[in-house]
Each structure stands twice: as structure tokens, then as C-alpha cells.
């Protein structure tokens, strides 16, 4: 016999590998459907042509157009809401950064009693029920004239973004090896030089991640804006809520949903591209 017979264990190994590959492919397909189909439906709904309505039992709309996008931009408050959202988000992010930097430095570099308790305290804005905080913070704000006020809105968003910025910056400060700081001190570096030459460059990736997280948190913040902002200030989420709740108009909601979602996912991929997953874990993971 010219052809050599494969040993049994080889066959088993090969079949197992094939099985595993099939499983992986199957899983990826399931995930594509799980994530992709909802997205595709939203895109299709935003492109429905009103002259050829997309109705049961059509699986796909027969004609597509940009009519809905035009309509939403022309006849709704979306332009103003985009302007509000994109002016609140950078302001809140900047304020968050300014306030978080000193605290994160202390939490990351100094040992003191009560440190663990403070690390739990800074998580509370994520954990506390959003609507309760929103409603009764708005009562507090109304006593000091910050309800229905642009600065009050920024303060509220800062509160919600603070945990992410603090956690990420704290982990970045913690990750700086003490040797480098000691070496710099030996070589005669003062506080200022240490700060500009060591701390700032080494926490820069964390700062970038924290900024993205704060920005996204502010963009998608709903409860506080809904209670303290509407009707004076509309942001993209409150507009979407109106389209989903009071008068459900699916095509308009689709357009607004995409306006809200696309920048977020883009930022996620930028963050993924430039950062390691450790930042994601720092922001959301291990408590």
C-alpha cells in the first residue's frame, strides 16, 4: 500500500479542530445577526420613502430615499438639540477632567486611611438609581436657581461622567512604576519637572480614554437632562424619547437614533484602535 494510513489520534485531532472552527464561524454568524440585524433595520427605517410605505408583509422596503432625513432636519428641533448636546458634552468633559485630575493623582499615588471607601464612593453616580438622583437633584438645583439652566445641566453631566474619568485616571496613575519617579528625583527633578516629564506623558492614554468615556456618557445622558433640561433644553436623547414615547414615529426615531449612535460607535472603535482593553475594564469592569 503506497498511501500511509493516518494514525487514529491524528484523525480525532483533525475532526476536533474542524468542529471547533465550525463552532467559531457559527458563533460569529450568530453575533453578526444579534448585533447587525437591529442596526440594519434602523438604517432601513431611516431611508423609507413615504410614497412607498414599508409595511407587512414586505421584508425589505421597495424604495429608498433621504426624505426622512430631510424631514427631521427641517421640521423638528434636532439641529438645536445637536447643538446643545455637542456644547454640553465638551464642557462637561473638560470640567470633569479638571476636577478629576488632582483626586485621581492622590487616589493613584498615595496610601491613606479611607482610600478604599473613597474608591467605592466615586462609583456611586453609576450605581445610584438615575431617575431618583435626577428628580431630587433638580429640586436641590431649583432652590439655588440651577434648574432649567445650562450651567446646571453641565454640572449634572459632570456628576455622571466623573466616575469613569476618575477610575481610568486613577488606574493610570497607579500603573506608573515608582522606580521611574525615584530615578527622576535622584537626578534632581523637582515637582514641576516630575509632573510635566513623567506624570503627564504616562497618563496621556488614560486621559484620552477618560475623555472619550466622559464625552459618550454626557451624549447619552437621559434622566437628568429630561428632568432638569426639558423643555428649555432638548438634547438628542430627549428628542429620541419624544419620538419613541409621546408620538411614536418610527421613521423619525430611526434618523435620530442613528444621529445619536453613529458617533458613539465611531468613538468606541477609535478607542479600541489606540487603547488597550485594560481601560475598558478599568471603566466598567472589576469593582
Amino acid at each position: 500500500m503506497a498511501q500511509q494510513v493516518k494514525p487514529h489520534y491524528r484523525i480525532v485531532e483533525q475532526r476536533r479542530r474542524a468542529f471547533r472552527t465550525t463552532l467559531v464561524v457559527f458563533f460569529i454568524l450568530v453575533q453578526l445577526v444579534w448585533i447587525g440585524v437591529p442596526m440594519l433595520m434602523a438604517v432601513l427605517w431611516s431611508l423609507v420613502n413615504p410614497d412607498y410605505p414599508w409595511s407587512y408583509p414586505q421584508v425589505f422596503p421597495s424604495h429608498l430615499s433621504f426624505y426622512q432625513w430631510n424631514y427631521v432636519f427641517k421640521f423638528t428641533d434636532i439641529v438645536r438639540a445637536i447643538a446643545t448636546s455637542y456644547s454640553v458634552a465638551p464642557s462637561a468633559t473638560f470640567l470633569t477632567f479638571l476636577l478629576a485630575l488632582p483626586t485621581a493623582y492622590i487616589l493613584g499615588r498615595r496610601k491613606f486611611p479611607g482610600r478604599e471607601a473613597i474608591k467605592i464612593l466615586i462609583l456611586l453616580p453609576i450605581i445610584m438609581p438615575g431617575m431618583v438622583v435626577a428628580l431630587f437633584l433638580s429640586r436641590v438645583f431649583s432652590f439655588i436657581g440651577l434648574d432649567q439652566n445650562f450651567f446646571g445641566l453641565i454640572l449634572g453631566h459632570t456628576l455622571m461622567a466623573m466616575p469613569y474619568m476618575l477610575r481610568i485616571l486613577t488606574t493610570s496613575f497607579e500603573a506608573i512604576p515608582q522606580d521611574i519617579i525615584d530615578a527622576a528625583e535622584n537626578l534632581g527633578a523637582g515637582s514641576f519637572v516630575k509632573f510635566t516629564e513623567i506624570f503627564i506623558p504616562m497618563v496621556l492614554p488614560g486621559l484620552f480614554a477618560g475623555t472619550i468615556f466622559s464625552f459618550i456618557t454626557s451624549l447619552e445622558e437621559f434622566n437628568l437632562t429630561f428632568v432638569m433640561g426639558t423643555p428649555t433644553f432638548e438634547t438628542i436623547p430627549t428628542i429620541l424619547f419624544a419620538f419613541l414615547g409621546y408620538h411614536f414615529i418610527r421613521t423619525n426615531a430611526a434618523v435620530v437614533a442613528l444621529i445619536l449612535m453613529i458617533p458613539n460607535i465611531t468613538m468606541l472603535f477609535i478607542a479600541e484602535r489606540f487603547l488597550k482593553t485594560q481601560y475598558l475594564a478599568a471603566a466598567l469592569g472589576k469593582m
Binding site: I28, P38, M41, L107, V132, F136, E272
Partner: protein, 282 residues
């Protein structure tokens, strides 16, 4: 010198941690005081327990039970997806990285957008009903949106929270040392025994954190339940918001707010108890 360090520590903690402390405690104190009749807006402000005495009527109890159901249902339902996924993602395989990024997308989808995305699928004439009918599994479309049970809300919460739990559980699975697994395998443990006796017990702290966090977030949810939940019962947060803004009964709303906070804290406390119990230090 030491005094000086302590002072600077406190001063530098104030901007970040102090900010959170002041605003959150202001909100919580305001909730408690208003539920006791103080700081009243629409009525005379005076201390009284009348709001607490009349708080637990049929509607509030129904809302409380509904919120508990949604919280438990979504946190445990999400676990059904996230735990097997986390186990699967432990292995190295081709395309793992891109699958990982794909999986994470729902974290970055805002809650209301997630609600809208899933509403499109499970609507009365949505694609899920269409497929089920085409396959002959059902003859009439199922009502999954604004249904009495709240399936729509559960679908949305599971879709939105799966990657969040996945991330937490994955990071706890990563801490399991491979030599323990190797030792078990050497001693003749099969895959199932390995999962039951090594991996599952060691990943329980991560599972608990993941479940409790999703519970708290879904228990106090307003937006998703408002958009996709049943007309009655409504969630506690919606009940609170309507009571405050529609009926202008802020003191009663504050009482509901206190219930939401207390139940959330109760579950956090239960979690810490359970975690310590399972680690055997109790």
C-alpha cells in the same frame, strides 16, 4: 511635614470625590426630607409621617413587584448569554479580537437607541414575528411589546447588558490561574468536571458583581420601561416620575424614591454578605 501631607491629601480629594459626595448626598437628603413632608413645594412644609402611612397602596406595590421582576429577570437572563460567551471567549481562536469588538458594541449604544433597535425586531409586524410565522411555529403574531409581562423590556435589557456582564465575568475568569486547571486535568478531570469544580466556583465573585450591577441598573430604569413596558403595571421609577411631575405630589414621589434607593442598597448588602459567605469567612 506629616500634617502638611494629610492636609494636601484632603484638599486634592475635594474636587473629584467631594463633588460626587456633595451632589449625591444633597439629592439623597432631599429625597428623604421631602418624603417626611419637609421642603414641600405644593403644600405646607411640616414634618409628618402621613406620606409614609399611605405610600403602600395597590399601585405602588404592583410597581415594586414589577420592578423586582424586571431587575431579577434581566440580570439573570443576561447571565444566560454572558457566562457561556465568557467561557467561549477564554479560548484563543482565529477572529477572537474582531468578535470581541463586535460583542462590545451594545455597551456604546445608548439605552434609548437600544430600545428602538429591539422594538423594530419584536414589534407586532416585526421581523421576529415574521420569521416565526414563516417557519410555521406560530400562526398569529405574538405581542411582545408593551405586553403585560414585560418581555419587551427584558429583551432590550438582555441585548444591552450582555457585553457589560461579559466584560466583568471575563476579567474575573482571567484571574483563574492556568496551573490549577492543568493540575485538575492531570488528575484526570474531564471538561465538565473542570467547569463544575474549578472554573465555576472561582468565577462566582465575578458573576455576583455582574448580576448585582445589572439588577440595580434595570431595577431603577425609567426610559426603556417607559418606551417598551406595559401600560400597567409601570416601573417604580416611572411611578415616581408621574407622581411628582403629573400629579405634583412630590412628597409621595420622594417616598417612592426612598424605596428604590433602599431596595438597591439592600441588594448590594446581600451581595457582599453572599460573597463573604461563599468565600467561607462567615
Amino acid at each position: 511635614m506629616r500634617e502638611k501631607t494629610r492636609l494636601s491629601t484632603i484638599l486634592l480629594l475635594i474636587p473629584g470625590a467631594g463633588f460626587i459626595f456633595i451632589f449625591l448626598s444633597a439629592a439623597i437628603i432631599m429625597t428623604i426630607l421631602q418624603s417626611l413632608g419637609l421642603f414641600s413645594i405644593t403644600r405646607a412644609s411640616r414634618f409628618s409621617l402621613e406620606y409614609w402611612q399611605t405610600l403602600f397602596d395597590r399601585e405602588v406595590i404592583d410597581s415594586l413587584l414589577f420592578s423586582l421582576k424586571v431587575g431579577l429577570g434581566s440580570s439573570l437572563g443576561t447571565l444566560l448569554f454572558s457566562y457561556p460567551l465568557a467561557l467561549f471567549m477564554r479560548k484563543r481562536f482565529f477572529g477572537r479580537q474582531s468578535l470581541g469588538s463586535l460583542l462590545k458594541i451594545p455597551i456604546f449604544v445608548p439605552a434609548l437607541v437600544a430600545a428602538f433597535l429591539i422594538i423594530n425586531l419584536i414589534a407586532f409586524h416585526g421581523i421576529v414575528n415574521y420569521l416565526l410565522q414563516a417557519l410555521g411555529i406560530i400562526h398569529e403574531p405574538l405581542r411582545m411589546l408593551r405586553d403585560k409581562f414585560g418581555w419587551g423590556v427584558l429583551f432590550i435589557q438582555v441585548w444591552k447588558n450582555t457585553p457589560f456582564q461579559l466584560l466583568i465575568i471575563s476579567s474575573s475568569l482571567e484571574t483563574i490561574r492556568t496551573d490549577i486547571e492543568d493540575a485538575a486535568m492531570n488528575l484526570g478531570a474531564g471538561k465538565l468536571a473542570l467547569l463544575r469544580h474549578i472554573i465555576l466556583p472561582l468565577s462566582i465573585p465575578g458573576i455576583l458583581v455582574a448580576v448585582i450591577l445589572v439588577f440595580i441598573m434595570t431595577f431603577g430604569d425609567y426610559a426603556i420601561t417607559k418606551v417598551a413596558g406595559p401600560v400597567y403595571p409601570i416601573s417604580l421609577s416611572i411611578r415616581m416620575h408621574t407622581t411628582a411631575t403629573m400629579f405634583q405630589e412630590w412628597n409621595r414621589a420622594a417616598g417612592i424614591g426612598v424605596i428604590i434607593i433602599v431596595v438597591s442598597l439592600l441588594f448590594v448588602w446581600l451581595y457582599s454578605r453572599l460573597a463573604r459567605f461563599l468565600q467561607g469567612s462567615m
